[in-house]
Symmetry: C2
Subunit: 224 residues, 2 copies
Amino acid sequence: MNTRLLEIRQGILSKNDRLAQRLRQRFHDAGVLAVNLVSSPGTGKTALLERTLREMAPTYRVASLVGDLATENDAVRLARSGAPVRQIVTQGMCHLEAEMIESHLVGWDLADLDFLFIENVGNLVCPSSYDLGEDLRVVLLSVTEGEDKPLKYPPMFNSADVALITKMDLAGAVEFDRAAAYANLRAVRPDVTILETSAKTGAGVAAWIDWLVARRLNVEAVKR
Amino acid sequence: MNTRLLEIRQGILSKNDRLAQRLRQRFHDAGVLAVNLVSSPGTGKTALLERTLREMAPTYRVASLVGDLATENDAVRLARSGAPVRQIVTQGMCHLEAEMIESHLVGWDLADLDFLFIENVGNLVCPSSYDLGEDLRVVLLSVTEGEDKPLKYPPMFNSADVALITKMDLAGAVEFDRAAAYANLRAVRPDVTILETSAKTGAGVAAWIDWLVARRLNVEAVKR
């Protein structure tokens, strides 16, 4: 790409996108894999993240930012893992923005981290338009919310790198239709990686962590 | 209120609010109770509404509008009740607006209706700011999504006239904490009416319909 074309493209990027690019560069330089978790309210982002942080903490340097319209409850839950956690209160906004990430990283040395998890506001629409500088966007789909959601909220599912099917321990109770869920996820994003998890029983959490660790090694390999 | 003050207040109302007021007047003049259903994705708005329409249709004149970012799937489901149904596709927008309601009512004679149900886009943030001219705003909270949601999404729960706790058939499987749910709903809106329903078993649906019918009689009584 020649310099002029690059300049023109940068000219049309929004302020959020410019900030997100700056964050992405910082994460990359520090060797941090940044993961943005998005979903409906109540799919179990906090429960899965709490378990992920707890299981990763003995081996990896992990931290988390968590966004909500109101309350610090999720930060309190996540901090039980022992990992550094900060709450972002959006004051009614339905998504996180790159600027909020940047301002809440002040005082943390990214060189001390391997993984930064960002739990977005529970919302299947707004967060899809806001790049936070993450390496991976992870969308959660709980077995309790219906297999049709990818078709009804395509921008969110289309922009995700991996789909986690959560609350698998309830699959029987809600008569979860796995084939329909997979078909709908792949109708919206044909190449999406799909993993199944239960934060309650722990099933699938080790595979999810292995997948994250492999992704970080890929990023490190590219860097070298 | 004197005329000048009224003019000033109207001057600062947004376009959506003005359209919503016009709709509200039309609903009132025609004796239609308009009900706006809001919630997260996957709380069972469509399932509850399908059952509500089916149970009400032999006795009352019911119709429904249903909003989604994409697909006509919900309108197809709701139309199985035999009631008139129209899909509003928002093309990525995270809420319905009064203008969309108005344009999708064209060709329907409101005088032929007793109840109009509007199923909003599944989203616990954006729809709270958009008056659709409804008489009642109903927020659904499913037992599967966590008792903490009222605290984390206060504008939506604060602006609702009634809270329906849905998927009660799953309360045992998810260890639903009823006391916590009620306390959190009332922390955000102390006087909110709370009803418990299961679209699957039908439990609570008759009480919900009775409540709606009573509300319509109240509106009619005020009108006379």
